[in-house]
Amino acid sequence: MPDDTMERAFAKNVDSLPVVFEFVREAATGEHVDDDLTRSLQLAVEEIFVNMVKYHPESANDISIEIMRKAGRLVIRVRDHDVNSYDPTGRPPVDVTKPITDRKPGGLGVHFVRAVMDDVIYEYTDRTSTITLIKNLE
C-alpha cells in the first residue's frame, strides 16, 4: 500500500471543527476505511482538538493535523504550538461503570479517544504538544 500524507493547519477555535471533519474524511478515505470508521476518527480528532482549544489558550497559533496512511495503519498527529506541557492522556480514566446518578458531565473526551484508537501517544518538544493517534486498518 503506498504511503500517503496530508497535513493542514486550522485556526485554534472550535468553529474550525467542520473543516477539520472534512479534512479527516478526505485524508482517511480509502481502503479499509468505511463511513463508521471515518466518524470514529472524526470523533477522536474532535476530542483532541477541542481539548487543545479549551485548555491551552496561552497560544493562538493554528493547530496542525497530519494524517498518514502507512503500512496498514492510519497515523494522525495533532500538534499544538508554543504551549505549556500537559498530557491529557495522563489523566485518570473516567469510571464509566458508575451509576448514571453518580456521573458528572465532562471527562469523556480522552476516554473516547482511547476507545476508538489503537494507540494514543503524547509528546512534548520545543513547546509543541503532539498527540499521535494510531488506528490499525488491517
Partner: protein, 93 residues
C-alpha cells in the same frame, strides 16, 4: 449541520451532527424539557463528548425531579458512542 426541535409532546427531534460547536444549541432546547421526555435520534449521525455532556446533564436534571429521559431510534454508531460512555441505559428502541 445540526438541527434540534422540541415538539408539543415533549419529544425532541435531533438531526445531523451534535459536536462541540452545537452543544449550546442543543442545551438551549433540552433546557426547556420539564417532564417525561424523549429524544428521537433517528436522524442523528454523530455525537461527541460535548453532546453526551448536554444529554447527561438533562437526564440528571429531569431525574432529580422524578422524570425520565429516553433516547430512541439511535443508529449503531450513536449506540456505540453511548456504550463507550457507559450510558447505554439511556437508549431504548
Amino acid at each position: 449541520m445540526f438541527e434540534i426541535e422540541l415538539l408539543k409532546d415533549s419529544t425532541v427531534v435531533a438531526s445531523g451532527r451534535l459536536d462541540a460547536t452545537q452543544a449550546n444549541k442543543a442545551e438551549g432546547v433540552l433546557d426547556q424539557l420539564q417532564g417525561n421526555s424523549v429524544i428521537d435520534c433517528r436522524k442523528l449521525d454523530y455525537i461527541s463528548s460535548a453532546g453526551i455532556g448536554v444529554v447527561l446533564a438533562t437526564y440528571k436534571r429531569l431525574s432529580d425531579k422524578g422524570y425520565a429521559l429516553r433516547m430512541v431510534n439511535a443508529s449503531d454508531h450513536i449506540r456505540q458512542v453511548f456504550r463507550y460512555a457507559g450510558l447505554e441505559q439511556l437508549l431504548m428502541g
